[in-house]
Amino acid sequence: MSSIRHRRWIVPIAAAATLGLTLTACTGDIAAEDAADTDCSDYEEYGTFDGEEVSVYGTIVEVEAERLEASWADFETCTGIDVTYQGTQEFETQVRVLVDGDNAPDLGIFPQPGLFATFADDLVAPPAEVEANVDEYWSEDWKGFGTVDGTFLGAPLMASVKGFIWYSPAMFEENGWEQPETLDDLMALTDEIASSGAVDKPWCAGFSSGEATGWPGTDWVEDMVLRLHGPEVYDQWTSHEIPFNDPQIVEAFDAAGDILKNEDYVNGGYGDVRSINDITFNEGGWTILDGQCALHHQASFYEGLWPEGTTVAEDGDIWAFITPGQEAGAADVTGGGEIVGAFTESEAVAAFQTYLSTPLWANNRVSEGGVISANSGVDPENLSSDLLREAYAILQDENTTFRFDGSDIMPGAVGSASFWAGIVDWISGTDTQTVVDQIEASWPQ
């Protein structure tokens, strides 16, 4: 009796173990990279450490995480510091849990200055070299994102430029359409495309993104606030010096709504206005390739989200221009990026943090492809595409007024909750005033 019983227990465990071993066989043993093959002259200033570990925590996963890890592989080999990176899409919630649980990572890569600022009490000020690097290679604006109440706490890392409008150069040429110079031009172009019947509808959009559904819409509104009312109002809005339901903000919502909530203008190839909430943001612009849509509003990183085989170039399948301002030549852009903050104090952490703020790192990282950094030490030749060079040029242009993505600066209760949800309601048909009133009510006291 008992032996039978034992066997019954053993079968599942044995089966599972066998399966596990089979899978393990696929992993193989990997030899560590040899330091002798690497040119370490660039890394001498950081010194050498004996197997010290630095843990890094961030939102970046998969391919982008691999590129990130590749960007500091030489640093690890030369200094002996072992950098362990952990990426998770749950970063925003988990980092609070880890810090409050006294189990913080050594470094956190924060995609939102607003979130970063809430950790001001937990963060360790970076070494002086980091601040010196930031002063030298970054603009005041960017330094400000890593500064909380006048204390500099972290350097920016990578960047993206928001508000690109994607289009098909061939389609434009065929129909004689021109890149608009002003917002009015943009509306005129929209109208022209709609009445031409060349495409299903002029604009296409997709706001669906799991629990962050709605965020692409916040980019629309932010672009409109900045372009219609300028950086001062934008700053007042994001810092709540003017309420969220201020008439100027309502105006910006409605300006975006003139396109997004107009059944004649959206959603090319996908259906009616409400389909915006159904379509995942990464597929949002794909109907341009089918000739069913002409324009799509999305950040520079959208370059990497086109289906495989799409060439992004001025004479390729897809190209983009930045959302114009009220006047021709206006240079107000919104964008995003990461801030690196340290939770522990040690020489290895400081060395690594310093390295991340240098042009050396920035060039290593952009050479891996897919991103830009606002670090002015980046050699544009290292950027992996024309579009990234265009975006980088915008960031480095002295005339550019750069503002960080507003929802990333606002408190979490608004920026990563009610603003997103408000956009979803707004697209579903709720009027602008109701939406902004609700978001205003959710602003923490």
Binding site: A16, L23, Q89, D100
Partner: protein, 327 residues
């Protein structure tokens, strides 16, 4: 004392207590019959089909190329043929990281799930026994408290628990590692304990239902023979409650295997300790754009729970959790 072995329980002789039949093997009367009626057959079939179709659709999709998944329905597989193992390849052998690492995560899942199933089961059976058969003041009140603890939301308990671990287990672990250097320095202890804590209230509640139904005469007989509580627990209660324990083991294993939240907080998130679910969640991509990969991933992670279910299924038949026949 040895007289109280499960084999010669004095209860099998038809004392008329209903719950005893629960623990007895079905007798000859249980011949296989067809379904009770034609309607029943149809309804059961309909339910079975309805319950299977969604999973079946996923199964078909897991073999379709990504563009087809995203543009045509899986039921049009014959009109839009396309068969690929790429989804599985990406999930199993994805080139991300320096090497395909799913094996590590798979092993981690087992390393987490096996002890995290055993620990709460043993502790819960002991506690359930104490609540059922050791008379003490406040027993009922305490039991109600344990029962009510089921509702403490996991999310709310994470931070305090992590603080306690950081203050106690981690330094202790480091010391142990210095003493015995061959031990891996990645600790599974926090995640084991966390799962144990979160499983205990439900486990105690369910096992108590079963253990308290063991006829008092059996326990009394053992006690008269001079057995201590430990002896009664090991020689009478555990063997009798085995079906219930095995049944709960399946559920606990499933919950741990499919958990993501606890793993996110209490493992380090790398191939050293993180389980399969965490790796699979990462595969979706940083902006959720690669969700089609989950078609294959869901099936990869399904294999082990199904093996466990099939091998322990017989215990369900022998009476489960509440063997209760009283109202």
């Amino acid at each position: 004392m040895s007289s109280v072995a499960p084999a010669d329980l004095p209860v099998a002789g038809g004392k008329g207590e209903l719950e005893l039949d629960v623990m007895r093997e079905p007798k000859a009367a249980r011949v296989k019959r067809r379904l009770t009626s034609r309607t029943a057959t149809v309804v059961a079939l309909v339910i079975a089909v309805l319950w299977t179709i969604p999973t079946f659709g996923l199964f078909i999709s897991s073999f379709r190329p990504e563009p087809l998944i995203k543009t045509t329905g899986w039921w049009t597989i014959f009109e839009n043929p396309g068969f690929t193992l790429e989804n599985y390849q990406e999930v199993l052998f994805s080139a991300s990281g320096s090497a395909p690492q799913l094996g590590s995560y798979f092993v981690n899942s087992l390393v987490i799930a096996i002890p995290a199933t055993i620990f709460p089961l043993v502790l819960a059976s002991m506690a359930a026994y104490a609540f059922a058969w050791i008379k003490f003041k406040g027993s009922a009140a305490l039991f109600v408290l344990v029962f009510a603890l089921q509702i403490v939301p996991l999310q709310m308990a994470l931070i305090p628990l992590l603080q306690i671990f950081s203050a106690t287990i981690l330094p202790w672990q480091r010391q142990v590692n210095e003493l015995i250097p061959i031990l891996p320095d990645d600790s599974f202890l926090p995640v084991w304990i966390a799962h144990t804590v979160f499983a205990l209230p439900l486990a105690i509640f369910l096992l108590h239902n079963f253990i308290s139904e063991i006829p008092g005469e059996v326990i009394e007989a053992a006690r008269v023979d001079g057995a201590s509580h430990s002896q009664i627990f090991f020689r009478v209660v555990l063997p009798l409650a085995l079906p219930a324990i095995a049944s709960f083991a399946i559920f606990q294993f499933l919950w741990v295997w499919n958990d993501l939240l606890v793993a996110l907080v209490f493992t380090d998130g790398t191939a050293d300790t993180a389980p399969l679910t965490q790796r699979l969640a990462e595969l979706v991509g940083s902006r959720g754009q690669e969700w089609q990969r989950l078609t294959a991933a869901a099936f990869v992670s399904l294999v082990v729970p199904l093996i466990v279910f099939f091998s322990l299924q017989r215990y369900f038949v022998r009476g489960l959790l509440a063997g209760s026949t009283k109202g």
